[in-house]
């Protein structure tokens, strides 16, 4: 069964790989901030009882998969890193709608 934590883990892993690819300080800063957000969300997912039958849950899983795939593509083409960051932001927002951490996400 798909889990939020498993998909968050995959996305964090890809964010780390993207961080190694880029040398742009602005992108590095965004990726690091995103990664910190993902760890905060991950902690909440571990802590909370998440109902996997909701629409929000499915939406979050789908968003995380899109973010993961975008990050994988960006590893091959660093021009796509900005797009991967945007996808990861969207996925973080989708997860936050479930755990309601209310963290300050990237614009």
């Amino acid at each position: 069964m798909e889990t939020l934590r498993g998909n968050i883990s995959d996305t964090v892993n890809e964010l780390n790989k993207l961080l190694l690819k880029t040398t742009d300080p602005e992108e590095e800063g965004k990726i690091r901030k995103l990664r910190r957000i993902y760890f905060s969300l991950w902690e909440e997912v571990i802590k909370q009882e998440i109902d996997s039958r909701t629409h929000e849950f499915k939406e979050a899983i789908d968003s995380l998969k899109v973010a993961h795939d975008a990050a994988v593509q960006a590893k091959e083409d660093i021009e796509k890193i900005a797009e991967a960051i945007n996808r990861a932001v969207s996925a973080a927002k989708a997860v936050d709608r479930i755990v309601k951490l209310g963290i300050d996400l990237l614009a």
């Binding site: 934590r5 780390n16 690091r32 990664r35 802590k47």
Partner: protein, 314 residues
């Protein structure tokens, strides 16, 4: 840093290591033992050892979280450390701390059962039984607090155990001791099964998080190397890369360690079930139980060595 982390369980580790040596002796005398409850002692020591290793897993979860936060702050010059930087995953999250307590009670239960099976004088029996009640009450309360469900041992069960232990008497008779142990194992089994299942299902989840922590630290080490490489001598670059390699191996192996901890929790439950099945037939030695004890001993040893490899050389 890791030395500091290990101190938290150092005393317990030394104790369990010393006891582990005696497991071999206990198992060796299983087939023609001097005391019918000797294998109970062997079982309890192996169980205690496994539970202690699982506690280390929780400590690893906590510590790697703090180490990752430190790496994050260090990687970004605009960030400053604050009190949150030094807060581990378990701290401030009661539900996770409760699981660690449950494991410690499971360990204490195993230890007390072993002590009860080998005590030679009444004061030792009294101490073991006091430890046993404390562990079982702790198991019951922590499980209820976390899950909202009864763990499977109530006040009535505790009273029955107390009566059975009292019946051992001042001059310890083996038959009465065996009856007491039989009562304890049967009454405590539902609690042991419930807690071991909870841990079996959840511990591997933490392995993902620990690996995420360790991989993030590795990533920041590589980024740091990228920035500094052209200013370093060849020798310094080699040393730096070797440090990264070590971190890479730790991250890679950590997930397996947590999977094994989950297996250990499962093994604790299965071994106790085998013990229960044996004592219900008034048998203190069965082929199944001997096999389970053997597996427990092997697994505890393997986990101990794995943990040592995981943190060695830091």
């Amino acid at each position: 840093m890791k030395r500091k982390f290990m101190k938290a369980s150092e005393q317990r580790y030394v104790t369990t290591c010393l006891k582990a040596f005696t497991i071999i002796i206990c198992v060796a005398v299983l087939f023609g033992c001097a005391r019918p409850t000797t294998h109970i002692s062997a079982f309890s020591m192996a169980s205690e050892d496994l539970a202690a290793q699982a506690i280390r897993g929780y400590e690893l979860l906590n510590e790697t979280t703090v180490q990752r936060k430190i790496a994050e702050v260090a990687a970004d010059p605009e960030l400053l450390p604050d009190e949150n930087t030094f807060v581990g995953l378990l701290e401030g999250k009661e539900s996770l701390a409760i699981r660690m307590m449950a494991l410690d009670y499971l360990r204490a239960y195993s230890a007390a059962l072993g002590d009860l099976s080998t005590a030679d004088v009444r004061p030792d029996i009294d101490k073991a039984s006091k430890d046993l009640y404390g562990a079982l009450i702790g198991l019951r309360d922590t499980f209820k607090k976390e899950t909202g469900k009864d763990v499977g041992i109530g006040n009535e069960d505790l009273a029955i155990i107390a009566t059975a232990v009292d019946a051992i008497g001042t001059v310890i008779a083996e038959a009465k001791r065996r009856r007491a142990i039989k009562t304890i194992v049967i009454k405590a089994d539902p609690a042991v099964q419930n807690v071991s299942k909870l841990l079996r299902d959840e511990i591997p989840i933490f392995g993902e998080f620990v690996k995420g922590n360790l991989s993030t630290i590795e990533t920041e080490m590589i980024k740091s190397y990228q920035r500094r490489a052209n200013k370093l001598t060849f020798d310094h670059r080699v040393k730096y890369i070797q440090r990264i390699r070590k971190q890479h191996h730790i991250a890679r192996d950590s997930e397996d360690f947590f999977k094994d901890l989950g297996t250990a929790a499962d093994m604790l439950g299965r071994s106790h079930a085998a013990l229960r099945a044996a004592v219900e037939k008034n048998k203190f030695t069965t082929p199944e139980l001997i096999e389970q004890i053997g597996e427990l001993v092997d697994f505890a040893k393997s986990l101990r060595e794995f943990y040592k490899d995981l943190l060695e050389g830091e």
